[in-house]
Subunit: 244 residues, 2 copies
DNA sequence: GGTCCCAATTGATCTGGGTCAAAGTTAGTC
DNA sequence: GACTAACTTTGACCCAGATCAATTGGGACC
């Protein structure tokens, strides 16, 4: 775990939305942090952390997509978080992981050894502050998702998921009004996020396509001609709320 | 809002599980906090905060039960949090409320004016730390709840809710192995928590009673003869996990 | 004690999404 | 370029929970 095998990355490469602690990219912070920080890559499908395991680090996603999942003894699983580039992983002050973390694409993580990170945190109020802010964001997202899970129809659920991914993952294409992105999830992973079966996901994606709300090139490449329409389908306030 | 009309309360009365900042009840902290702190009572049914409103305080529940809810334009509502005594309300660093907060019983809140609280927080790393810990707890609870909403059956949902309330609300009755508590929620509120209709809640409560998993005295007073059985019905690991 | 009101129960029926099954797609791999 | 394996779509049928519609129960108040 301690062998950084990611060479190209340095904090100068942080994606714009990188919100984790290291992401602030202030040189003085970097000096402090470099001693305890390392990069690590995971292949698609690889489990980053098993629920219940001791977790020796915290960190954030640099590139790729990972998921947080919970599983019942009989195998029913529910995704409880989607980790896109810039999202933070880990629970400072806690020893065990609460969820499985699985890479769904190849993932590069920027990790901080936990012990020194916590020491740094208690010496640097600004970091604890930032972490609180990020945790509040995650809490908002989780609660918004409870509304999706508890009260939305299958079609609305799909539309909600698509708009979240669209808002975070759009490849800017300014000579077009359309929003374009790649789905980083299989139909099964989408189902696990939405509390549906993969068949229902497939049917509803087809229905949204048939109704012109989205266009598909292949299975994963999505074009949204009209984001407002998609958000109406999601049942959201058109102003968008604060889902991350 | 500034008129404290709660007289009996002082921090010496904090319930055992009071985990909020003021709850630590160290005399020196109290001296600091007293200048910015007030009590306030709300009647059952009263809305404490409207989603989107500017929120001038943070605080914690001293007694009673309140709920956090989200509502769609068409009226579908989902409860996203249950506030029992000791739970924290508010989002330091945020201006607007993200949810409706509604008192479901008479509620006493211990409130801190937001501005001075935030100043205090930035001067006192220990408070920011504690707040982070509490927010992580809430995040865990929200994510555990996502599993309930997304993947559990109606019967499992009811059993899950009952065990959460049982674990937090039990009136100790040591000459009996049974767990006894009062439901602080109407059937409708339970339905809003569980993503069900009130009719389904009623049916499943009746079914659990018929099957001897619970006993009811009146509509609200619940006796659980065997907590292990209830938790099996909830589909939880018998060790209980970390739901708050 | 009566009656008003609201919470809760119970019944009958309907339907969205689950389940089971089969066939179609796509990307590797040899 | 055929072969495999994993992912996806589509169809047929079913059932858990929603919906609609009466009742029933239980305080609070006169």
């Amino acid at each position: 775990m301690n062998t950084p095998n990611f060479t190209a990355g340095k904090c100068g490469d942080c994606p714009i939305r990188h919100r984790a602690v290291c992401a602030r990219c202030n040189a003085d912070e970097l000096v402090e942090l470099d001693a305890i920080k390392y990069y690590r890559t995971y292949e698609a499908g690889q489990t980053v952390i098993w629920s219940g395991d001791k977790m020796g680090f915290v960190g954030s996603v640099v590139s790729g997509v990972a998921t947080l999942t919970q599983t019942m003894e009989d195998g029913r699983t529910q995704m409880v978080g989607l980790l896109l580039p810039s999202d933070f992983v880990g629970r400072p002050g806690r020893d065990g992981a609460a969820y499985n973390v699985v890479a769904t694409t190849d993932v590069v993580m920027c990790c901080f050894r936990k012990k020194p990170f916590e020491e740094l945190m208690s010496k640097t109020p600004h970091i604890a502050h930032r972490l609180l802010e990020m945790t509040l964001d995650e809490l908002d997202a989780a609660r918004e998702w409870m509304l999706v899970l508890g009260r939305k129809t299958a079609r609305e659920k799909i539309a909600s998921l698509l708009s979240i991914i669209a808002r975070r993952n759009t490849t800017p294409d300014n000579n077009s009004v359309s929003t374009v992105f790649d789905l980083p999830l299989t139909r099964e992973a989408m189902a696990d996020y939405l509390g549906l079966t993969l068949e229902t996901v497939s049917r509803q994606v087809s229905a949204l396509k048939r109704d012109g709300v989205i266009q598909l090139q292949g299975k994963r490449h999505v074009t949204v001609p009209d984001m407002t329409r998609l958000m109406e389908e999601a049942g959201d306030d058109t102003d968008g709320g604060f889902l991350i």
